[in-house]
Symmetry: none
Subunit: 209 residues, 4 copies
DNA sequence: AAATAACCGAGACGGTACGTCATGTCTTGTA
DNA sequence: TACAAGACATGACGTACCGTCTCGGTTATTT
């Protein structure tokens, strides 16, 4: 969502085309759907967006950064409406997450940038800040809401609470991604219900153990 | 683990060098460590292996297939020694899996080929048969062992049992991979214990629900 | 002498390097001398010229076209100074032609492109327009001059005159090339005088026959 | 016409297949017609001849030598029947030579091997002995016959006679080849008659000059 | 209004890797 | 020992993209 050069133009000169960014990101997603990550070329994206290749390089450092931004936009729609109880909230976020993962532009792009991020710390940070943290916030928000409802106990030890939140996040995100992209099976209502039951039972039982 | 052309040479002609395969896979892993997936080139692998590029293309269709085979070999060492009880068994396999994922050749390779497999069904099958199914067998084996010990009830409904096994597998593999590669946090004894407690509590509680 | 894309760039974009063409053709001739046609590679020419291989392919379709242009440049120096009489003119052009053929870059290149042109009409046209026609013009010019001097009769039948010119041209060019490249004997003053006497005697005698 | 290893097999072992040589040369000519010199590959020739590539390399050093032999066989049929007078003899040999040059296997092969021979003395000797000298003999034979008939004077100076024969040979062969392969015009009866008149008039006039 | 400055399109540039092909050598098993 | 089959190391092929650069031209702000 953020162009490479975060600092706004200091002084005079022609301002950057406002529409170009959106066109480029849309073109990137379209190219991801048609070609997939590995066949996607920046020249092709530029052509699709009706933009010169140089314009593209002026705003993003490379393919990775561009695709992160293009995919991150898909996660803007993630939110956590209050469905009344913790189980329903979890099922809601799982299904929402799965719905995004089902879209081919997310499928093709997400795993590829994660793969690249393994050897590129800057890219990992970019992914974390624009995609992962946004998901994690939902977990924290859901827990706070459940604590307000009395479904979960208050945090006595903040550090332990953070560790638990990380664990839960890895379990949710990991399981859904693995189901959707590795096992390539649908994340449907049945699976979601079973998974949620497993997770919440584990949580409440662990809390008392 | 398996070259592209599985059928052995029918008739005459010089047989394929037996040592070449191993040299190529080793060179591929070395290149993965040094360069990562995206910078790895087949020409470089050929040079490292002391082999002609054509020899490489004669045996694998491309980079993806080669890397799958090279990475799959890492998972050969996965096994499930009987540690006496279910929790210990789960912790054992999680740590073992995490140990493999911690190796840079696995890190770089695994996610990349999974990302590519999204648009390539043949590749997905190859990954499934040579990597994923091998992991899943451990889950099934662990469950059978736990049932023998009386830690888990016998399967009444085989179909439901299969669904549950799939769920557990996605949760274990997904959580470990997400922790290790996305969150980039260590899968240490602490985390493993917490995760295992969550999983097993969830399982036993869900079974009675 | 002429790059593949004769039309100059219509609109914007970086202009083609002006010096590249000359550098490439010179490098081609140097490589012809050192390596000969069959060992000459475009990659090597590109390296010698300090130019990328793609630049080379952007301007010429392949080895044949490049070598034709490189060799054709050698024939730019062909001219027909007025030596006062027909015999001297013929001897002059024969010796000039032979001097070019004696240069190793011409030797290696000319026969090879002619050989290739047998199966490639476009190449034949290229050779004709940039090499052969230039030689033929000298024959026509020499005849016109001889007619002005009264050494040859005026043309009554233009068509017959054209046929005769073609014949003379094939005889001169063919004999010189065959002597120089097939027989591999020197085209020196003696041979040239004998050949010219044979040709001119044949011409004048035939005209009256 | 001659395999590389002229010495017959000295001792035991499986004898060379007698039919293989002929099959290979025929396959070479067929490939020349279909593909031309530059696209012809030894592997393809071997396949066409139903022969292993190694067999081919055992008998010829490479593409050049093979093609020379294959093309040379075409010139076996050159002969000089006595047509009664010198002009008819010359026209006969010109037309015969042109008929061979009109065959696509000769067109494609001859110029190419000549081009290669420029940088390869061994190849030049091979061409000379198996192709060029055979043509030159016809010139000498024709002259002897004309001298017997009284159409040409006897040789007083043998060295001068040899020089003249060389000149005539270069003129005939060069003109015909240039007409056929460079100008790409037909060597028909008209052209042959004109050329012969030019040549013989030049010869007789020069002799008296 | 003029000058300045950064943007824009187009496209050529030096490179790198691709996947294929041909060369000439070698290793098999069969005759 | 020669043969057919075919794998092998080597290295050129022509193509596609990479990321950079050089153009001529186009907006904006600053003087």
């Amino acid at each position: 969502m953020q162009s490479r050069t975060s600092a706004p133009r200091a002084t005079g000169g022609r301002p950057r085309s406002a529409t170009a960014d959106a066109a480029i990101l849309a073109a990137t997603r379209a190219a991801l759907v048609e070609l997939g990550w590995s066949k996607l070329t920046l020249g092709d994206v530029a052509t699709r967006a009706g933009v010169a290749k140089t314009t593209l390089y002026r705003r993003w450092a490379g393919k990775n950064e561009l695709v992160v931004d293009a995919v991150a936009a898909l996660f803007d729609e993630l939110e956590l409406p209050d469905r009344g109880n913790l189980a329903a909230d979890v099922e809601g976020v799982v299904l929402q997450f799965a719905a995004i993962l089902a879209r081919p532009e997310a499928k093709s792009g997400l795993m590829s940038v994660v793969a690249e991020s393994i050897r590129d710390d800057a890219l990992r940070d970019r992914i974390r800040s624009s995609i992962v943290e946004r998901q994690k916030l939902l977990v924290l928000e859901g827990r706070a809401r459940a604590q307000q409802r009395g479904e979960l106990p208050e945090d006595n030890d903040p550090e332990a609470a953070a560790r638990t939140a990380d664990l839960i996040f890895d379990v949710i995100a990991g399981a859904v991604v693995h189901r959707a992209l590795v096992s390539a099976e649908p994340v449907d209502a049945d699976w979601t219900r079973s998974f949620t039951r497993l997770l919440l039972n584990g949580l409440t039982a662990s809390a008392t153990t």
